[in-house]
Symmetry: C2
Subunit: 159 residues, 2 copies
């Protein structure tokens, strides 16, 4: 799938969908099944820089993604975060505005022969993401296809 602006944010994951202002990526770390990144499709370093159409587009994505993930998987609740820490590891900083969406699961989830466990459920903020087991490309595609099937707002081309 070809997505506008993808080259600038390809480290955040594989392309899942796009709206007019945002790109939705399936995160490399799938310990929490369905973990996504929502990245702005223009250069911007802070939330203060978003304009009203970008906020309202984002709000529709929140609704659509939460609904699709709840339909696809037995999600208990969601964490949303705009952290930007990794961009400030560099000097000078090189931040690009993006959101993390982490579905949280009270119980382990079986999907495509993997068991996904949310070891920090209810206990902590978003977990340490430095070390995570990989899944095959085939399973990654299955996760993307399953989420995509349930999207509504984001399935309308360039909403």
């Amino acid at each position: 799938m070809e997505c506008e602006y993808f080259d600038k944010v390809k480290d955040y994951g594989s392309c899942l969908a796009e709206s007019r202002y945002w790109l939705i990526l399936l995160a490399p770390d799938q310990r929490n099944l369905g973990t996504c990144v929502v990245a702005l499709k223009r250069d911007e370093t802070s939330l203060s820089g978003l304009n009203d159409p970008e906020w309202l587009d984002f709000s529709k994505i929140v609704e659509d993604l939460e609904s699709a993930l709840r339909t696809a998987f037995p999600v208990t609740m969601f964490n949303w975060g705009c952290l930007l820490n990794s961009g400030y590891k560099k000097d000078p900083p090189d931040a690009h505005l993006h959101w993390h969406l982490i579905p949280r699961y009270k119980k382990p989830v079986k999907f495509a022969d993997y068991v996904f466990k949310d070891l920090c459920f209810g206990k902590s903020t978003m977990h340490d993401r430095s070390d995570f087991p990989s899944i095959t490309d085939k399973v990654r595609r299955e996760i993307s296809d399953t989420i995509r099937m349930h999207l509504k707002y984001l399935n309308r081309k360039k909403v």
Copy 2:
């Protein structure tokens, strides 16, 4: 300061300001100087439930708070998160929609004879909040007054 809806969210901190739809609180944990909570002034458990006026009001608060905090303190950047984990520790869950705003500092900050250190700067997501040193009520008031002095959007009564 009296704030609408405060009784329901008083565990999140002390009242700093309010807009039409949101209440801004100074968080109990001030390890990161100026840490705030932005709580919705009605019962709601997930981001999907916000309507357009509430999103746009929130976007103005993001701009106003980030600007006020940058003017008041030498903030390097900000973490924003809507996690809601603590509400799911309970069974049945008892979540109330709120955002964490954590200013992040590259260097230690001296304020009112305290030195505030951001030990996780650039390294991690929002830190473990279970154990933090307390500051006096007087210093808490000084932090609140300093932030309040620089608010614009939120200083207009019931914007």
